[in-house]
Symmetry: C2
């Protein structure tokens, strides 16, 4: 370092609120807009190579759709259908893709928390899908109580736009009806947007029916969507029946679908990033084409979930250099097609919320900002290759997200911000702590972290020598203690509850 | 996640070497070149505001130089000198800055490890200056043995170009002569470039004399520099005598100096990033001007060490959003002046090598790549606000650096890389594990981490349930065990040793 920073006495400045002031500011901003430049690494020549690649894939090899309804639509539109395989005219695909909106809104039941998808907006949702939970040193099956806890935490952190959807698998709830419990929890424990269930067409219809209840009928949600759903490709080049059934429901109801090739290079795609990007384009664009045939103009998101396996063990790896590069390219590719884009998250292979979990998570989250991703899933809580929803990692991820939101807020370069008067006041070799310029701004001039510690060593030892994971454990317990359920119209809540009860009985649970 | 990745049997693919194959590849590349685009966030208008700012600072307020030799040079060059304060003609500064080379080489005693500074080259050095060491759970005073250990570790990791300089303060070595021990260790335990001592002009002369011995005389190191030294500003706007004395020695001998404003916003600069950037320009450019007056054309680096204090406690904070933004701007500003740039590192306030240490470190390291920083100090081992050199953090930082070097290696977009043949072979819904394209490339297709674990949970538990810090502890101990001293001409080594012995006696230690 070469020089030491002066340590100030605590009394040198008036007290700041212990909680993050920046967090409160962001809450007032409603949602994050990334007005910083995009970091684009693909040349026009590289894009042309990729363009040739996806065109050849969709026209020569084709894409399988395990859905008669989908095949009928493609056949009627003049595409070449053999068994389940569809060979496309690439220009037909581009015509359909052009019908999708470049940007759209998703309404939350609290209008302050409605979300815009596309342009420079970035919306963030929690981890999606883990069957296990980690709480401190304990790793165990996830339960419905865990699901509710994570939903409450998502409500408690203002920088998160959504708890997500299947934030963890509630293994103690009956399989056929647990989607009802999850949607009900998302609708009542948060007032933010939520993701729809995609396990089957039936589950999608239940999601839509409950969304109708919450938002006052189908016409209202068709006018402004109120849920967003993840449709994964069974890569390579195959769309499975159950997810397609869900896609049919959501697109028909004008609810956005995130059309996502699920690509772990080496398993579901070739061991080459360019090849994987071309495949991702072929898969995403054909899925998007289907939505436009189901309902022209229905909202879609160009989805990406791209990482690689370890070629020794076959294990998926997350937060890798390859996934970061793929993510940067994906943002640029989606903009090339005029589509909102989903990618990123705080992904990691680490089994615990340690240094690896943090560097791998940030290795995916920071490029999400650079790439201008619009819908970021798995923002909070992802651990152990996505098998675990971690309470402590959730808090660490919220800290990282809040830092990045502060970092990707453009500076103002004005004469006044040069603070020449402060230099006149302080002069050579002095310090700015007591300068008038400082005193006027010290409450808000810098981002203040809520989890990171910059305590000196003695103070840190006196405070229990807690590392970031231990402090994160304190934070989520406190957040749950302080959680307040957002108000909901009791008649609506009763109607939702009645729907859940009735459908659970019908489903035999 | 929505879909699970297939877990392969270990026997599905032939054995890969346990160590990182990417590390070996990078070693052959000799040093890292960042051929990815720069991420530039300053508009021409913002640059114009900053330009106005530094011009006003150097001409209206001026910069203090506590050195009669410096004041004489400025006076003789027609600048306005009052006591220690120099008011500059900004255009005079630009004339002098234009004399500095845009790029230059630094020779290592092993020519394979010589380094280029400037352009798209990035060179990386270890942490610099901590008085304490952390080893596992123990934090204690640093010793000369620690210094030697870290120097050996720096030799052992191919992605590091230099151990640095004062990698830790050897508190058990006599104060007046410890610089001799440090330089001797850097010269003999590594064959990489090393940093010069800057505590005083005397120490700089010793560094140069020992460098003369190692590289065959002053003429050889004047022709191609063989050491690089850090000159810090006593910000705001003051250059102190001891560092200036060192700068005189190094610049006169044509050895590069890294002219670095040391800016913790709120203490040494105003609580405004634009103001701090303008001050940084004023300080760096006046220091660089001095080097050009000492010896026109002598190599310099535009240095930056920019973070902020916590406005509640006064503690320095590292890995902050503000420091990342400042870093991005600094790269662009240095290129604006045609100068190589130093910044970045794996900085953190965290007291232990935990999640915070990792996310704060990466929050500075990733922007170092985006900004195209040429000389990155504090790349490995920095902990606890720079007060601690941590063995475990050193290894974690090496992991992060190697990942970033892989990430910032441009892709090739060719027809062949689209792997169309692999798609023809695999078809729909299959997997690429056994494809010919995969089998030909599986050894090198992806970066393989040496520290990160993607073991499944059961295997990870069986292997001792070690987190990243615990595994890092294993790695550095193994590296030290396996360390081999690079060969050195025995006559040269004896001459160095004799110099150290003689000078230690002269210095009274």
């Amino acid at each position: 370092m070469g020089r030491r920073a002066p340590r100030l006495q605590p009394e040198a400045l008036p007290d700041l609120a212990p909680a993050s002031s920046a967090a409160r500011q962001l809450q007032e901003v409603r949602m994050f807009r990334n007005a910083m430049p995009r970091y684009e690494i693909l040349s026009q020549e590289s894009l042309a190579v990729l363009d040739k690649g996806w065109r050849r894939l969709v026209s020569d090899i084709g894409v399988e759709f395990l859905s008669d309804r989908a095949l009928d639509l493609f056949r009627a539109a003049g595409q070449k259908v053999d068994d389940n395989n569809v060979r496309f005219d690439p220009d037909f695909i581009l015509e359909q893709v052009a019908k999708a909106p470049r940007e759209f809104d998703i309404q939350a039941r609290n209008p302050e928390k409605s979300v815009h998808i596309g342009g420079d907006s970035m919306a963030f949702g929690g981890v999606y899908g883990p069957p296990f939970v980690r709480e401190g040193e304990v790793r165990r099956d996830a339960t419905m109580d865990d699901f509710r806890n994570f939903t409450k935490l998502a409500q408690s952190f203002s920088m998160l736009d959504s708890a997500g959807g299947v934030i963890c698998e509630p293994n103690d709830a009956p399989l056929d009806s647990r989607h009802l419990d999850m949607i009900y929890a998302l609708q009542t424990l948060t007032d933010k947007i939520y993701m729809g269930n995609v396990v089957s067409g039936v589950n999608a219809r239940d999601t839509l029916a409950m969304t109708d209840i919450l938002f006052g009928g189908r016409a209202n949600i068709e006018a402004t969507p109120a849920t967003i759903s993840l449709i994964n490709c069974n890569s390579p080049l195959r769309w499975d029946d159950r997810m397609l059934d869900a896609q049919f429901e959501y697109s028909a109801a004008n609810q956005p679908v995130v059309i996502t090739p699920f690509l772990l290079m080496g398993a579901m795609s070739p061991v080459s990033i360019p090849a994987t990007l071309a495949q991702q384009m072929a898969e995403a664009l054909t899925g998007i084409t289907l939505s436009q045939l189901i309902r022209p103009g229905s909202p879609v998101v160009f989805g990406s979930f791209l990482s690689n396996i370890d070629m020794q063990s076959g294990s998926p790896q997350f937060g890798t250099p390859e996934s970061a590069v793929g993510l940067l390219c994906t943002g640029q590719i989606a903009r090339h097609f005029g589509l909102p884009v989903r990618s990123g998250g705080a992904l990691t292979s680490s089994q615990v919320p340690d240094a690896q979990a943090a560097y791998e998570g940030l290795m995916t989250m920071l490029p999400s900002f650079l790439a201008g991703i619009n819908w970021v899933m798995h923002t909070a809580g992802w651990l152990d290759g996505g098998l675990v929803a971690s309470y402590e990692k959730f808090v660490i991820d919220m800290q990282i997200l809040e830092m990045l939101q502060a970092e990707f807020t453009p500076l103002e370069f004005t004469e006044e911000n040069l603070a020449f008067g402060a230099h006149e006041e302080v002069g050579h070799g002095g310090h700015f702590l007591g300068a008038a310029h400082t005193m006027e701004r010290f409450r808000t001039c810098f981002y203040r972290p809520f989890l990171s510690s910059s305590d000196n060593y003695d103070r840190w030892m006196r405070n229990g020598a807690k590392d970031a994971a231990a402090r994160a454990s304190d934070v989520w317990r406190k957040k749950l203690d302080e959680y307040e359920q957002p108000p909901i119209d009791e008649a609506v809540r009763e109607e939702l509850e009645a729907y859940v009860t009735r459908r659970r009985a019908e489903l035999g649970d």
